[in-house]
C-alpha cells in the first residue's frame, strides 16, 4: 500500500528525532506506572499495618522509633520493658489482643524474636500486604522450646526442621553469653518478603526459661507490646490509660499516626515525581508535535503533488495522524514492558512491589497519556487536512 510506504519513508527520514522522542515518552510512561504502583503499595501496606496494630507499648523512647522497629524492623531494638506490664495490659477489657515481643537474643547473626502466641495473627495481617499466598493456615508453636525460622535463615544456615539450636544474649555475643537450653526447629516459615524471613521466632516463655537456666536475674523482660483494641474509637483514650496504668514509665505509640507521617512524606515525594513526569511527558509530546509541524511550509508542494495524483485529504491527514499516534502507542508499549521489567527487578529487593498486571488506576493513566498524545497529534493532522482540502 502506497500510503504505508509514504509513511514509512517519511518516518525513516526523521528517525533519530523520532526514536529520541519515543524513548523519552516511553521512559515517562514507565516512571508514571512505577510511581502509581509504589503509591498504591505504600498506602495499602500502611493501611494494613495500622489496621493490624492499634498501639505499640514500649519503654520510654521516640514513638516513631517504636513503630519503625516493631512494624518494619528498622532501627535498633527499644530498651527493655518488665513483662508484668504485658500481663496488666492483656487483661484490660478494651484489649482484643496483645502480643509481647522480646528482641534481645541472637543466633549466629540472626535476630531471635521472642513472641507470645497471638503474634501469628498479627503476623498474618502484616505479611498479607506483601504476600499473596500467606493465607494458608497460621503457624503456631507446639512447645515452648520449639522455634520457627524464617526462610532466609534456613537457606543461609542450611537448617532443616527437627534440628537443634541454641541462642545467645545480645547481638554480638561472646562465648559465655550462650544459653544452654536447646530449641528444636519446628518449622521453616515460607518466604514472606518481610523481616520475618531473617528472624528466628521463639515462644517468649521458652526464652524466659532459657534466661533463667543461664542464671540471668532479669529473665522476665520484653522489648515492646503490640496491642489490638476491640474498638479503634478508644485509641486515644487507651493511649492515656496505658501510660497511667503501666506502673512504670512507658511510651505508647499509635502506628496509624506514625504511618500517616510516612505516607505524607511518600505523597510529597510522589507529587514532586509526578510533576517531573508531567514535564518529561510534555516535552516528549512537544517533540512529537514539532517533528511533524516544523516542516509545514516545505510540505506545501509535497501536498500539492500528492493531491494532483489523487491522494485524498483524509488519506494525507491520516498519514500525519498515524505517525505520532503510532509513536505514542509504541512508547506506551515499551514503557509498560520496561515497567514490568523494573517491577520484576524491584520485587527482588522489595517483595511488596509485586505486580505483573496493571491496576485500573494505571490503565487510566495510560489512557490519559494516549489521549494527550492523540490530541497533540490531531493538531498538525487537522492543519494538513485543512490545507490539503483547499488544494
Amino acid at each position: 500500500m502506497i500510503l504505508f510506504k509514504i509513511m514509512r519513508s517519511s518516518l525513516v527520514r526523521r528517525k533519530v528525532r523520532l526514536v529520541v522522542s519515543t524513548l523519552a515518552l516511553a521512559f515517562s510512561v514507565m516512571l508514571l506506572l512505577t510511581l502509581v504502583h509504589i503509591d498504591a503499595v505504600v498506602h495499602r501496606y500502611a493501611k494494613h499495618l495500622s489496621a493490624s496494630t492499634d498501639l505499640v507499648v514500649g519503654a520510654p523512647a521516640q514513638s516513631s522509633h517504636l513503630v519503625l522497629y516493631s512494624l518494619f524492623g528498622i532501627g535498633t531494638p527499644p530498651p527493655d520493658l518488665p513483662s508484668d506490664i504485658y500481663n496488666n495490659l492483656r487483661d484490660n477489657p478494651e484489649v482484643s489482643r496483645a502480643v509481647a515481643v522480646s528482641v534481645r537474643e541472637s543466633h549466629r547473626g540472626f535476630v531471635v524474636t521472642g513472641v507470645t502466641s497471638g503474634y501469628f495473627d498479627m503476623l498474618h495481617l502484616n505479611t498479607e500486604a506483601g504476600d499473596a499466598d500467606g493465607s494458608t493456615g497460621l503457624p503456631s508453636f507446639s512447645d515452648r522450646l520449639s522455634v520457627l525460622i524464617g526462610s532466609n535463615v534456613a537457606t543461609s544456615l542450611k537448617y532443616k526442621e527437627g534440628e537443634l539450636l541454641t541462642v545467645a544474649a545480645g547481638f554480638m555475643p561472646s562465648y559465655e553469653d550462650e544459653y544452654q537450653t536447646r530449641f528444636v526447629i519446628q518449622q521453616i516459615l515460607p518466604a514472606t518478603g518481610t523481616t520475618i524471613d531473617d528472624t528466628i521466632l521463639v515462644p517468649i516463655e521458652g526464652l524466659t526459661f532459657a534466661r533463667a537456666q543461664h542464671g540471668l536475674a532479669a529473665s522476665n523482660i520484653i522489648s515492646y507490646i503490640m496491642v489490638k483494641l476491640h474498638n479503634r474509637q478508644a485509641l486515644l483514650a487507651m493511649q492515656q490509660v496505658f501510660s497511667r496504668q503501666a506502673g512504670a514509665p512507658v511510651e505508647v505509640a499509635i502506628p496509624a499516626v506514625e504511618l500517616q507521617l510516612l505516607t505524607d512524606y511518600e505523597e510529597m515525594i510522589n507529587t514532586v515525581m509526578m510533576a517531573m513526569i508531567a514535564i518529561i511527558s510534555a516535552l516528549a509530546l512537544v517533540m512529537v508535535f514539532f517533528n511533524l509541524s516544523a516542516s509545514f511550509a516545505e510540505r506545501r508542494q509535497e501536498l500539492e503533488l500528492l493531491r494532483m495524483v489523487g491522494a485524498r485529504p483524509i488519506q494525507i491527514a491520516s498519514l500525519t495522524l498515524a505517525e505520532p499516534v503510532g509513536q505514542v502507542i509504541v512508547a506506551i508499549i515499551i514503557g509498560t514492558l520496561s515497567y514490568f521489567i523494573a517491577c520484576a527487578g524491584l520485587h527482588y529487593f522489595f517483595p511488596a512491589m509485586i505486580g505483573l498486571e496493571l491496576s485500573l488506576q494505571q490503565v487510566s493513566w495510560l489512557l490519559l497519556v494516549f489521549m494527550a498524545g492523540f490530541s497533540f497529534a490531531c493538531l498538525p493532522a487537522w492543519k494538513i487536512y485543512a490545507v490539503s482540502r483547499r488544494i
Binding site: K5, V12, E304, L305, R307, V309, G310, A311
Partner: protein
Amino acid sequence: MEDIGKKDNGIDISALEQSHQNSEILNIPQLQIRPGETICLQGENGSGKTSLLRVMAGLGKNCKGSVSVLGQNLASIKYQELERLRADYIGFVFQYYRLVPYLSAFDNIMLPCHFSARRRREAIGRAAAKHIDVPSVGQRKDSAIMQKVSEDAFRLIRKLSLKDPSRLSKNASDYSAGQQQRFAIARALIGNPRLVLVDEPASAMDTKGKRAVYELILNECRETGATLVCTTHDDMSDMGFDRYLDMGELNLAKEPEIR
C-alpha cells in the same frame, strides 16, 4: 465522471482573470484547445505560464472567468469530481517540486496508479499493446495488478532512455536533476491521462536528451489522443507541436513591476 475521457472536450477558457494582492497575474480573454491538440506554451519569465497550467489543473486561486477542462467547469465542479478529474485524467509535471523525494523513483512513477483505478486499467491495457479496457482489473490494487501496471512504467522508462530500469529503487532525491525530470514525465504519462500538463519538463536536460524527451511526450499524447500543454524556454519550433502560443500575446495582464 467515467464519460469524461470519451467526450470530445479539450480546454475552454474565457475571460480568465487571476490576481494576487492587487497585482494581476493572468488576464486571458479567450483560449480554446481542441481535444488531442498539442500546445507549446512559450514566453519570458514571469509571463504567467506556470500560473496558467495551475489554473488548468484546478490549483489556481482567486480566479475569475470560466475555465472548462475536459468538459468540466472548474468554477462549479464538485470537490470530489475535481479530485477524480485530476487522479484519472490529468498527468502533470510541476516546474519545481516534481517528485516525492523520499519515495523511490519507481514508486513515484507508479503514484497515479495507486490512486486511480482508471489509470491502472489503462496502463495494463497499454502494456498489453492494445487499446482495450480491462474490466477484470476493476478496483483491485493487489501486487499482481501492480505488477502488470509496472510493465507500462518500464516501457516509458526505456523510452525515456534511462539506462537501468531495474535499479529505480533509490530515493527520487538521489537522482540527477535530468533523471528526476524523466521520472516525472513517466509519472505524468502513465495510465493514459486525457490531459497532460508539463511545466518545463526538460530544463535540466542536455540538448540531445531534450529533443528525445519532447518527442516521447508528443508521441505518447498523439498515440493516446491526449491533449498536451507544455511550457518551455527552448526553441521547439521544429518539434511539430500542433500550435505554438506566446504567453506575451495571450496574457493581457498588465506588466508586473519586476521582470
